[in-house]
């Protein structure tokens, strides 16, 4: 008595208490290639635990250099993860079958983060190093990697922001990671220039990353060498060669951040800017060398103001506050940056 139901292989379900725990994760083509062909290890990351109910802000999946948002998509269907099994039939013959060993009611979907920037997170998390000294606001001090662990972005994206902001880590006292303020950086830009002139290495043929490093080695000033090296790295290309465009822009932006919070005449900014640069780069100085998002022009383009100057004021004010004040500000600052990052 053959029936249709006798055909096919058995299909059974493990009871819920015996099931394994799996999650289903959709792999976009790029991730599929990394995982299958290059056997890359990926990383789940999330932001720091927020105080509210210990919930994580957002979970992401990172490749070494890219970040994907994770979205949990529920399904009303019963999705079973099955594996081959075998059982004895009535005649004691071993029959292969399939057994559901897990059920998943949701799938994780990934979407690439459009314009990742770790800068907000670093600015929110780091103690600032100002021109008048260091404000210690973290206890115990976090290492660079500990900081990166709390940033829901890939390692390369964290490193890029770290480099661009000229952040630096001090291994000795005062231990910790620091974000230099614009005024601290302007001081260093100027001291690099004056040292270069003094040592006669400011001319085009001689002004190089190597020479700037030598200047730091002879540094007798208060600012830590780590800051100088971090600033140098922020204006170098991938091969460690000075990038004049980056240098010019960095100096201009730092000057604007120091002087332009409440606005200043553009001509005045350009003059100070030129004066802070080696001679051969001074002709590059023009407002357009800055990114359009970094400044606003007013009064028939005669006045220039740092973009987002309101927050600039807040940052400047926070700098002058005591350790305790900086600590209190921390959560507010982070919440803002979180919103901005979305």
């Amino acid at each position: 008595m053959s029936t249709q139901a006798d055909e096919g292989s058995s299909f059974s379900l493990l009871p819920e208490e015996g099931r394994q725990h799996f999650r289903l994760l959709e792999l976009p083509p790029e991730l599929l290639r990394l995982v299958v062909s290059e056997r890359t290890i990926l990383h789940f990351k999330s932001g720091p635990k927020t105080s509210e109910a210990g919930s994580n802000s957002e979970a992401v999946l990172c490749t070494p250099d890219k970040t994907f948002h994770i979205r949990q998509v529920n399904t009303s269907n019963s999705v079973y993860i099955c594996q081959p099994t075998s059982h004895n039939d009535d005649d004691e013959n071993l029959q292969p079958g399939m057994q559901a060993i897990a059920q998943s009611s949701w799938t994780l979907e990934l979407s690439e983060v459009a314009s990742p920037s770790a800068a907000h997170y670093l600015k929110a998390a780091l103690s600032t190093y100002s021109s008048t000294g260091i404000y210690q606001s973290k206890d115990p001090p976090a290492s660079q990697q500990q900081l990166f662990d709390d940033i829901p972005l890939s390692q390369a994206e964290c490193e890029a922001a770290w480099r661009d902001l000229a952040c630096f880590e001090l291994k000795k006292k005062p231990k910790g990671c620091f974000l230099p303020t614009a005024s601290a950086k302007v001081q260093v830009w100027r001291s690099i220039l004056s040292s270069a002139v003094a040592f006669g290495v400011d001319k085009p043929a001689r002004f190089s990353a190597h020479q700037v490093e030598r200047i730091f080695d002879r540094n007798e000033e208060d600012s830590p060498n780590e800051l100088g090296h971090a600033m140098l790295a922020s204006v170098c290309d991938h091969e460690g060669m000075l990038d004049p465009g980056k240098w010019v822009r960095a100096v201009g932006l730092d000057l604007l951040a120091v002087e332009g919070v409440r606005g200043l005449p553009a001509s005045e900014l350009l003059k100070k800017w030129r004066d802070a640069l080696p001679e051969q780069w001074r002709k590059r100085v023009q407002v357009e060398a800055l990114a359009r998002s970094e400044y606003t022009l007013s009064d028939d383009r005669k006045m220039i103001t740092l973009a987002g100057a309101e927050s600039g004021v807040a940052v400047a004010a926070a700098e002058t506050k005591s350790t305790l004040g900086a600590k209190r500000k921390w959560h507010e600052k982070f919440r803002e940056s979180k919103k901005a990052a979305k």
Partner: protein, 148 residues
């Protein structure tokens, strides 16, 4: 919070036993995905359950599948039956996933690496699945001994 590593599928993964599925649905580890629109409610009592208290749902059948047919022959994918008990049948099909699914699980931490400290949770991709069997229709009644 430290990042949690997600390891790629182990190259050495193997299936636990003979795989009854068509070649297309077989994966190195044997893991496969079967999706049913709806839920399974069992009224079986303990003596009726299989080993490990598993619920013997029924039989999975690919009536048009011919193992000797060339791989580019795909018509069989349109028809899959899942017989539930003796009297019901679900009709489904094999679906290629638009985006393959990684089946992710917690990795067993070996004793040697356990001293890395608590909180070093490690995940791994047990398998990457490219096809699923989807039963998106209502069950139809079938007679016990009658041709379905």
């Amino acid at each position: 919070m430290p990042a949690i590593a997600l390891y790629p599928p182990a190259a050495s993964r193997t299936s636990s036993g003979p795989n009854p599925l068509p070649q297309l649905l077989q994966t190195p580890s044997g893991l496969a995905i079967v999706e049913i629109q709806g839920t399974v409610n069992s009224t079986l009592s303990a003596p009726q359950l299989g080993p490990d208290a598993c619920i013997p749902l029924g039989k999975l059948s690919f009536p048009l599948y011919d193992p000797s047919a060339p791989a580019q022959e795909t018509a069989w994918q349109k028809l899959v039956y899942l017989y539930v008990g003796r009297h019901q049948r679900l009709t489904g099909e094999v679906k290629k996933l638009a985006k393959p699914l990684a089946v992710v699980r917690k990795r067993e931490v070996e004793a040697s690496s356990a001293d890395e400290g608590e909180g070093t949770e490690v995940m791994e991709i047990a398998e990457i699945v490219y096809y699923k069997v989807l039963f998106a229709h209502r069950p139809e009644p079938v007679g016990g001994g009658v041709e379905g």
